[in-house]
């Protein structure tokens, strides 16, 4: 038995199809929906934990991809809501990797480099307008 956490993105025309249900029926996998949402532009997002035979998991993921679903391994993603951010820089000295940084010392503009972020979440609560969010 194996277990794997994955993130699925459904295109608009696939959100009402029983694609995920087939994982039980055709591949003998059990799954746990950790999170599911539909964005305003009608894209579906789902975080799944799959349990079953390792080769069946691989086949199940292939089935999802064949159906046009985007499959990615689960990793947290940190995002800054720039409409909420007040450009104070409170997060900058908290962030251990320099992912949140002052990009110009004359204007004191703050920016975020997702490449450097390790999703440690240390910046989430010290941000006064709570502009930084974790996405799964």
């Amino acid at each position: 038995m194996a277990s794997r956490k994955i993130v699925l993105t459904f295109p608009k025309d696939k959100i009402d199809k029983p694609i995920v249900f087939k994982l039980i029926k055709d591949f003998n996998l059990s799954f746990n929906i950790m999170k599911a949402s539909i964005t305003p532009d009608q894209e579906g997002h789902m975080v799944l934990e799959l349990d079953g035979d390792k080769s069946e998991i691989d086949r199940g993921i292939k089935h999802l991809k064949d159906e046009g679903v985007k499959v990615e391994p689960l990793s947290k993603e940190i995002r800054v809501d720039w409409n909420k951010c007040t450009q104070c820089s409170a997060c900058v000295s908290i962030c251990p990797t320099g992912a949140l940084y002052v990009k110009d010392r004359k204007t004191m503009a703050v920016d975020f480099d997702a490449e450097k972020c390790i999703a440690c979440e240390l910046c989430i609560r010290p941000c006064p307008p709570r502009a930084i969010k974790v996405h799964f």
Binding site: T86, Q87, C88, S89, A90, C91, V92, S93, I94, V102, R105, T107, M108, A109, V110, R125, P126, P128, P129, R130
Partner: protein, 404 residues
């Protein structure tokens, strides 16, 4: 060659006034010299945008039928207590008020996700806010309960009224202890892990007119995106703080009490914020124009970050226990470079107030004046300054003796 505010206003009305922000004036003075710059420039605009805890809003929500008197009873706005002591249907809500069922710091550090500052932001944003009132009922005001949505557009008067804003300089906060501490100047990592500052420095209103020569009671200002006025000195106004030769105080000094029409404001500039472990506050945007009446006034507005010095204060001990000691002094140019040195250690810095937004405010005010939409005012009375100004005192506690 001295100018008057009246003359400057004439130029503004004709669209001929020369207006620059407090950053631009530095270079102009460096290039042209004080005398020439004072001749050419009419107004310098300043700005600041940061958490200002001593802020709040009051409004009149209109009479119900039958009538109700909130005074003596209780009122909640989105579950945040408002002050009812202003009689029938006037309420005051303070920025730092916490939601009634907020766990506060019971599990330290508390989140403080919502509070007074957020209620004020939502009102300004035109969102519906739930109002619940419990009154005791009188012959003239019989109604006892009210539970309704309210909206800023339906309120009779709605004003931002802040008892202490725009601090003239502030501390740079650090933490000498070996645990993380949570303050109104943000999260401070142990053993000098970071240093947080909170001033717009060379753009800050009161640092550009350090002896309050042009601004005072009655001065029209840019407040929260709308128009406001200075109504008094702010609480804790302390012009006696030690000053540099250029007049700039090295410690928190002057403050302003401000008022403005909440209905004109923009939620971008009136923003509820949460300081983990401390509480809720309100980010307030303020812009003050400084009329260049003479060379002396121009010289003050040309102050640079490197000429403004702040005290480095330990918020794990000195600040909370009211001890006067400081760990050193540092200028804002160094502070804004991203790193300062404290006790021989290199410490990364963060802002709590936003320089970028402060500049946007100074520029917006500049544009309004240039377009003739914002006229300058003569102050009605001076803010206290000099030897005659009252001293800022700590509380003299007089313990209560039982049985007396």
């Amino acid at each position: 060659m001295a100018k008057t505010i009246k003359e400057i206003n004439e130029k503004i009305k004709q669209g001929k006034a020369v207006v620059v922000n407090a950053e631009e004036i530095i270079e102009i003075v460096a290039k042209k010299g004080l005398a020439q710059a004072a001749k050419e420039v009419d107004v310098v605009t300043t700005g600041t945008f940061g958490p200002m805890c001593s802020s709040g809003a009051y409004f009149n929500f209109g009479h119900t039928k039958p009538k109700l008197k909130a005074g003596g009873g209780t009122a909640l706005l989105n579950n945040v207590p408002a002050y009812t002591g202003w009689a029938a249907v006037d309420l005051y809500i303070g920025a730092t008020a916490a939601t009634v069922d907020d766990p506060l710091n019971k599990i330290h550090p508390g989140e403080f996700a919502y509070g007074g500052g957020h209620v004020i932001e939502e009102l300004v944003a035109g969102k519906d806010v739930r109002l619940q009132v419990e009154a005791y009922g009188t012959d003239c005001y019989p109604r006892k309960h009210l539970d309704t949505w309210i909206n800023i557009n339906d309120l009779n008067e709605a004003l931002l009224f802040n008892s202490r804003n725009a601090y003239q300089n502030y501390n740079v906060a650090v933490n000498l202890s070996d645990r993380t501490i949570y303050t109104y100047l943000g999260t401070l990592k142990p053993k000098l892990g970071n240093a947080n500052y909170c001033s717009a420095g060379q753009l800050s209103p009161l640092l550009n007119d350090p002896y309050y020569k042009t601004l005072g009671i009655g001065t029209r200002i840019w407040l929260g995106g709308g128009t406001g006025y200075i109504v008094w000195q702010g609480t804790q106004h302390n012009p006696h703080a030690p000053r540099l030769d250029n007049g700039v105080p090295k410690r928190p000094a002057g403050t302003l009490a401000l008022i403005g029409d909440l209905k004109q404001m923009d939620p971008k500039w009136i923003k509820g914020v949460s300081f983990v472990g401390y509480g809720v506050s309100l980010n307030v945007g303020i812009g003050i124009p400084i009329p260049i009446l003479n060379e002396e006034i121009l010289k003050y507005t040309a102050v640079k970050d490197e000429d403004i010095v702040a005290a480095i204060v330990d918020y794990s001990d000195a600040y909370p226990n009211g001890k006067p000691e400081v760990l050193g002094e540092v200028d804002y140019k160094t502070v804004k470079s991203g790193q300062i040195e404290v006790k021989g250690k290199k410490v990364p810095t963060s802002g709590i107030s936003s320089y970028k937004r402060a500049l946007e405010i100074a520029n917006d005010l500049k544009d309004q004046i240039k377009k003739g939409k914002f006229l300058l005012t003569e102050k009605v009375a001076d803010l206290p300054v000099g030897d005659s100004a009252p001293k800022f005192k700590p509380l003299k506690e007089r313990p209560i003796k039982e049985g007396k």
